[in-house]
């Protein structure tokens, strides 16, 4: 656990140092390393793929400017700085809120993604993906497993309560969820 965290911190510190020194390949590496993750989190935050794409570009522009000028205070938390910048841009620029000052750290509790409305759902999940979800539901062995998925993912009930109601062990719950996610991934990959 510590090894993985340290190596990410080391990579981040190295990238920050090289970008500050004017190394353009380091800038490309930064974008390649964090682009997919940043876009995922921005899409969840905004619930709007087009807006997330705009914010994604703007976040990298702002972060690269800050890195070139050397004004980042915690290089080892580069990932957090990217996320924080993306959030601040969303809150400041798109929600017309007053910015409370520049921050390098991330306040994860400050922003929670909203539940998407049915209209937003249509833009966030494709028809083919819904079909694969239906197929997965059809493939589940028992009605109890189907209930488990809906109660966990849709009704957002606690694991303990679901297990108590359905008479499941924690291990069985984990297994159903893990297998459902694995199988769903296979279905998505074969459909693409």
């Amino acid at each position: 656990m510590l090894i993985a965290e340290r190596s990410e911190a080391e990579v981040a510190v190295d990238l920050v140092r090289r970008i500050r020194g004017g190394d353009r390949t380091a800038e490309d590496e930064l974008v390649a390393r964090y682009s997919r993750g940043l876009l995922f989190h921005l899409r969840r935050l905004t619930g709007d793929p087009a807006l997330a794409d705009d914010l994604h570009q703007e976040t990298f522009r702002v972060v690269l400017e800050r890195l070139r000028s050397g004004s980042i205070t915690e290089p080892s938390r580069l990932a957090g700085f990217l996320l924080g910048t993306g959030r601040n841009l969303f809150l400041g620029g798109y929600r017309k809120r007053t910015r409370r000052g520049e921050r390098d750290s991330v306040d994860a509790a400050a922003v929670d993604p909203a539940d998407p409305s049915p209209g937003q759902l249509a833009s966030l999940v494709r028809e083919e993906e819904i079909q694969e979800v239906r197929r997965l539901i059809g493939e589940l062995g028992t009605d109890r497993d189907r209930q488990l998925l809906f109660r966990f993912y849709v009704a957002e009930e606690d694991k303990e309560r679901i297990c108590a109601d359905l008479g499941l062990s924690s291990l069985h719950f984990n297994r159903v969820l893990f297998r459902a996610r694995q199988r769903f991934r296979e279905l998505l990959e074969s459909a693409r």
Partner: protein
């Protein structure tokens, strides 16, 4: 981060559902930004979550369409025919069940009659029964077992029909003296003894809570009911206040445990995070 632990504890799913403690959520979020494996986990789980929601929303919408069709049918000149058709749909399964039970009853009576007419062989004490006799004994035992099984099935079906009929009668009957409890938002810090007290007897089927909202202004609201131990007992989103600017919620009395219960109402803006709007608490007391 330890990926086997992330899988075992459903960290990705719990992160997406907002069920991780804030510090753990922030750590996982930062880690996921540069971890392709965790991004795979997150993307798959998020697509599954949104897909399941879309499926659930469509099923609910299909239900609304069916109801509106029924309403239109009831208003139309074809209503008597429509009602007749619906009656047939509703009654056909019961008719089939009744007919099937009758058939089983007749078969049972016939088998009993056959058995009564059949001579029961008695073996010689101390000697093994002859081969033919042994077969007849086995056949007799099989028939008796069949009868016992059919008796059991018929009894279970009768009990189920009685239970369904009682449930239906209870559901159709009007509710008298349903407790209606108006609740005002908490002004002081939560944790003190609530002023509202709800005495529930075992016969209290429903309780109606009227949650007063100070200044409703959000497109919709989310309400979360937590039990005395802080566990979520019920949660619903997409709620809209009534003309008196209150949210009215009917809860089954049997689902309310004794102790201090709390309800949190969050406003759901068109975009962005839910905003806490009001908190309510009340004490449930169970009476004999």
């Amino acid at each position: 981060m330890d990926h086997s632990l992330i899988d075992a504890e459903q960290v990705a799913e719990r992160y997406l559902l907002g069920q991780l403690p804030p510090d753990e959520a922030a750590r996982f979020e930062e880690h996921s930004l540069a971890c392709p494996e965790c991004l795979d986990r997150l993307e798959t789980a998020e697509t599954l979550r949104l897909g399941l929601r879309a499926v659930a929303a469509r099923e609910a919408a299909a239900g609304v369409v069916r109801l509106s069709l029924l309403a239109r049918l009831a208003r139309s000149r074809l209503a008597p025919w429509g009602v007749g058709f619906l009656f047939l749909i509703a009654v056909l399964p019961s008719f089939y069940l009744t007919r099937e039970t009758g058939r089983l009853d007749r078969e049972l009576a016939r088998t009993r009659e056959e058995l009564a007419q059949r001579p029961v062989p008695v073996g010689h004490p101390g000697l093994p029964p002859a081969a033919g006799e042994a077969e007849r004994q086995a056949e007799l035992a099989r028939l008796r077992a069949q009868i016992a099984e059919r008796d059991r099935q018929a009894e279970a079906e009768r009990r189920e029909r009685e239970r369904l009929a009682a449930d239906l009668a209870r559901a159709k009957s009007p509710r008298i003296n349903v407790p209606v409890v108006p609740l005002s938002p908490e002004r002081s810090a939560p944790g003190g003894e609530p002023t509202a007290r709800l005495a529930l007897s075992p016969s209290t089927e429903w309780v109606v809570l009227s949650l007063e909202l100070d200044a409703p202004g959000y497109p919709s609201y989310r309400a979360t009911l937590a039990g005395p131990d802080g566990r979520t007992l019920w949660r619903a989103a997409g709620l809209h206040p009534d003309a008196q600017e209150a949210l009215t919620v009917a809860l089954a009395g049997a689902n309310l445990p004794a102790g201090v219960l709390s309800i949190r109402v969050d406003g759901l803006p068109a975009q962005g995070a839910p905003v806490p709007v009001a908190g309510f608490s009340f004490r449930v007391v169970r009476t004999p």
